[in-house]
């Protein structure tokens, strides 16, 4: 028998917080994307934990969809990063200040 779900959920909360801090603190767009992946993984871990605690396959099915959405998000996001890099030669979010008044 595995550990109680509280341990897994606590770990997921900590990982989500680390990802959120990274998203707020870092300026490199690529690393900000990786922090989003961290947060999505923390959410996946909670879904799998709830699936085990309730003995319900529904939680695992949701994880499947989260994976698909994460893949689509990364594809489009990195496409935007590459397009932007061609114009401005930077991946730092602070340098994208064309709309600044």
């Amino acid at each position: 028998m595995s550990l109680s779900g509280a341990w897994y959920l606590g770990l997921a909360a900590i990982v989500f917080t680390i990802g959120a801090i990274g998203l707020m603190v870092r300026r490199n767009v690529l690393i900000m994307f990786m922090c989003i992946e961290l947060m999505l993984n923390a959410a996946n871990l909670t879904f799998v934990t709830f699936a085990r605690m309730l003995h319900d396959i529904g939680g695992q099915a949701v994880v499947f969809f989260v994976l698909v959405v994460a893949a689509a998000e990364v594809v489009v996001g990195l496409g935007i990063v590459v397009t932007n890099f061609r114009r401005r030669a930077t991946t730092v979010a602070d340098d994208l200040d064309s709309l600044k008044g």
Partner: protein, 208 residues
């Protein structure tokens, strides 16, 4: 009330379970901190792989074997490789200076608000039940799908639910992936109005 007693009736974990959880939790946390603190994007991507492997181990520990395999194949095999490809393609695999704080007071504020949120969530969870509700609404995690000779186990159940209960969502993800592919192609394409000989001068002008 069956579910409350069943949730509390879990047997005591054995020491291999504790060892596996502790090891993967350490791997996950070290990787997560590595993603945030790495100065080189390549190191951040490799730390992300570390975290993803740890999460996959915890998936296996929680009877989600199929999702663990998908996690490795899709995340570590596709998404991180895509990240690394873009990092190498753009040539931004240099260490950057993260000691300067571009926005005054942003980092302390980010830490304070994140700590408040995390502490609130953990305190709320410690004083309340982690999970409530009916058990097995969609279906059991394991078991035979139809008859005694039919496929059994967690992948079979997951497949059955994906193509029955979640069929609409499944089709919607198909549409989403097609949209993402079209979007990526449109973004990656250079503007057709610029001719090949003009393109070099335009690029140099833009980067200048």
């Amino acid at each position: 009330m069956v579910h409350a007693t069943l949730l509390l009736a879990s047997t005591r974990p054995t020491w291999p379970d504790i060892l596996v959880f502790a090891a993967s939790a350490a791997v996950i946390l070290v990787g997560a901190v590595g993603v945030v603190t790495s100065r080189n994007p390549v190191h951040a991507a490799l730390s992300l792989v570390m975290t993803l492997f740890g999460v996959a181990v915890l998936f296996i520990e929680q009877e989600a074997d199929f999702l663990a395999a998908v996690q490795i194949i899709v995340y570590a095999g596709a998404i991180v490789v895509l990240f690394l490809f873009v990092i190498m393609f753009l040539g931004v695999d240099r260490a950057e200076d993260i000691s300067v704080e571009p926005l005054m007071g942003q980092r302390p504020l980010a830490f304070v608000f994140s700590a408040i949120t995390l502490g609130g969530v953990l305190a709320m969870a410690a004083t309340a039940h982690w999970v409530t509700g009916a058990r097995q609404v969609v279906g059991p995690i394991e078991g035979h799908v139809a008859g005694p000779n039919s496929p059994a186990g967690e992948p079979a159940q997951l497949g059955k639910q994906l193509f029955t209960t979640y069929l609409f969502a499944f089709e919607a993800t198909a549409a989403l992936l097609v949209i993402a592919v079209v979007g990526a192609v449109v973004l990656a394409r250079r503007p057709p109005t610029v001719h090949a000989e003009q393109e070099d001068t335009t690029d140099s002008e833009l980067s200048a």
